[in-house]
């Protein structure tokens, strides 16, 4: 009999919903309050809840720290990469209007989606990285280390 059955069952039910809500916030950022930062935090919260209920090791098996590290950089690169693409298309840095030839409004739309995805990835990874760093901190230094 595993302990905390109720917690486990409830959180198993909740975690996918939290993750789903994260993406709702992400894409709703187009029309109202919301966007990559909030969505990233919510997405990370779903993993953190998993870690709290099922243990840090299980969470690290699900989302390995190496992915988190890559995710952080990839998020920044997705954001900056969008800017580089607009550079290559002849506009200023992050001038999304040039993304789709002849349709500046559409370009702005797609550009902001790409950038916000970058923010989502970076924020979620950073939140997880901080959580992993504190969670897996070894206790005080032993005497030999000094």
């Amino acid at each position: 009999m595993t302990p905390h059955v109720i917690l486990r069952i409830i959180s198993k039910f909740l975690i996918p919903l939290i993750a789903l809500f994260a993406f709702y916030v992400q894409f709703h950022g187009d029309f109202g309050p919301g966007g990559g930062f909030q969505a990233g935090v919510i997405l990370a919260a779903s993993v953190i809840l998993y870690a709290l209920i099922f243990g840090l090791d299980a969470a690290k098996k699900a989302i390995p720290p190496s992915w988190v590290r890559i995710g952080m950089s990839l998020g920044v690169l997705l954001y900056g990469g969008t800017g580089v693409v607009t550079w290559m298309l002849g506009g200023e840095f992050l001038n999304y209007s040039v993304l789709i030839d002849g349709y500046p409004a559409k370009g702005q739309h797609y550009g902001i989606i790409a950038v916000e995805l970058g923010v989502l990835l970076a924020v979620a990874s950073v939140m997880l990285a901080i959580f992993y760093a504190f969670g897996s901190r070894q206790p005080d230094l032993s005497d030999e280390d000094w």
Binding site: R69, I70, M72, S73, V76, L77, G80, G81, G83, V84, W87, G91, E92, F93, L94, N95, Y96, S97, W146
Partner: protein, 510 residues
């Protein structure tokens, strides 16, 4: 301008953004690179490319042009604008060039000082720090300044803490710096909040125009000015707010110490100039009072007390760190005069001090690299053990004191002339006393190095062991540059500073 015709048009137009974005993105890529060698080459590429671009922009701006770059194509004041004029172009070039020299130096010194697993992330943090510094100097948007201030600060805390594999005290120093630096950044952003409340805009030129219309604004903008001055004062190690600096300089890896000493406080000082003179204006009574009485007073206190503390340090890096605090005092004294000559002198010293301190800290790093020396008493006989490195240190030291035909002399001469011009004879006395104190703290090290014999270990005199070439090249480059500025290029440097102070004081036309 042959050099300019070689540069692609695109790079000049987009240069302001390229300078910031390239280290930022390549820093992010480097963070996931496994190989330290590859990371070093990426850093080298970024710094070389940045230096060339910054030089081209410097030439364009030197011709009297102001570069305006609209981020994302949005017009200021709503969008973020990057502005490069005579005030920040030299600082941008300084940051890029110092990053290049420290990267060359890092090839050997980082291997000696940082543990293998952390070397690639070290370079990533270095590039992010560079991007942050460049960003806060380039941008013309007040909130953007805060963002880049944080980017550079946070990566600097990391870089200082990387010194832990050499000396565990680096962790405490980095933590100290983290706490004080965060307080500084918080004060700065609180000040920005008040400014936004008063003016409703974040574009620096726009804030400036609105504040001038309001004739200085209400008490809200006074409070804003106070918060911004204290916040930036913490970042630039203004005298009573300097406590983070000695620890951070003493325990960071040598390469980081050089980079910090010659760029980080300079960028913060640039921001202070930009905010006090172009965002606020010295015609406002509160700005005038603060600069004339408080900043000048603190500058003089820093010159005397900083130099005095430098004499009594037992660690050579701390000696130079306290000397840096004193040198910031010189710059603040020049700012406090509120005259074109004073500002020119201050700006000349910003550039010269970066060159001088860079050379000195390079040499200290080389002493550690070969012999593990940091304490002043271990300097005995270094003139024989490492003649070339000690030679560069000597040139830098003489320049710091202000011996004629060196860069330090040029800045002190300018400052003295400016003080006389303002009618502040007492300031000349302060400059003299502080320079005499500099003779003591530098002289103490030089005497030990040249007139004491090398120590004996197991009955044998320690052998000569010169630093490797890749460490000597950037060190000697700066040492010779400091003499070169003293003899040949003083006019050029003074001209750069003159352009900068023109930008600062142009708001004072009737």
């Amino acid at each position: 301008m042959d050099f300019l015709s070689l540069m692609p048009e695109w790079l000049i137009t987009h240069g302001a953004a390229v300078l910031v974005i390239m280290p930022l993105l390549l820093g992010a890529i480097t963070a996931i690179l496994p190989s330290e060698r590859l990371a070093w080459f990426v850093t080298l590429f970024v710094t070389v490319f940045g230096t060339v671009t910054a030089f081209a922009i410097l030439l364009v701006v030197f011709g009297g042009e102001t570069q305006l770059y609209k981020m994302g194509g949005w017009d200021p004041p709503h969008g973020i604008a990057y502005v490069i004029d005579g005030l920040n172009a030299p600082i941008i070039f300084l940051i890029c060039a110092m990053a290049l020299l420290t990267t060359l130096y890092g090839l050997k010194s980082v291997v000696a000082e940082v543990e293998p697993k952390k070397r690639a992330p070290f370079y990533a943090a270095f590039m992010l720090g560079m991007a942050g510094l460049l960003g806060m100097v380039v941008t013309g948007d007040a909130f953007n300044v805060f963002v880049f201030l944080e980017v550079s600060s946070i990566s600097t805390y990391v870089l200082v803490a990387m010194g832990a594999s050499r000396d565990r005290r680096a962790l405490a120093a980095a933590y100290n710096y983290l706490v004080l630096g965060s307080i500084g950044a918080t004060f700065f952003v609180i000040g920005l909040g008040f400014l936004y409340m008063e003016t409703g805009t974040l574009n620096m030129a726009d804030i400036g125009a609105i504040l001038r219309d309001l004739d200085g604004g209400s008490r809200v903008s006074m409070v804003a000015f106070g918060f911004i001055t204290v916040g930036l004062g913490l970042k630039l190690a203004m005298f009573p707010l300097h406590l983070w600096l000695p620890g951070a300089y003493a325990h960071a890896p040598s390469m980081v110490t050089v980079f910090l000493a010659s760029t980080a406080t300079k960028a913060a000082l640039y921001l202070m100039l930009r905010f006090t003179f172009t965002v606020f204006d010295i015609s406002f009574a509160y700005v005038f009072t603060v600069l004339t009485f408080i900043i000048t007073g603190l500058g003089c206190a820093a010159m005397l007390l900083g130099s005095l503390s430098a004499i009594f340090q037992t660690d050579a890096r701390r000696t130079l760190a306290y000397s840096s605090i004193a040198q910031v005092g010189y710059m603040l004294l020049g700012v406090g005069m509120l005259t074109t000559m004073g500002l020119t002198a201050s700006y000349v010293h910003v550039l010269n001090h970066a060159v001088i301190k860079g050379a000195l800290f390079f040499a200290l790093g080389a002493f550690w690299y070969r012999y593990g020396i940091t304490r002043t008493e271990d300097f005995a006989g270094l003139g024989k053990m490492m003649p070339w490195t000690m030679g560069a240190f000597t040139l830098g030291g003489l320049s710091l004191i202000g011996v004629p035909f060196t860069a330090g002399f040029i800045s002190k001469l300018q400052l003295t002339l400016a003080a006389l011009d303002r009618g502040w004879e007492w300031a000349v006395v302060v400059i003299m006393v502080s320079s005499i104190l500099a003779i003591f703290y530098i002289g103490r090290l030089l005497l030990a190095a040249y007139f004491q014999s090398p120590p004996e270990i197991d009955g044998e005199i320690v052998e000569r062991n010169e630093a490797p070439l890749i460490i000597l090249i950037p060190m000697w480059f700066l040492a010779l540059l400091s003499v070169g500025i003293g003899i040949y290029y003083s006019d050029f440097v003074v001209q750069l500073a003159q352009n900068a102070s023109d930008v600062l004081l142009q708001g004072d036309r009737p």
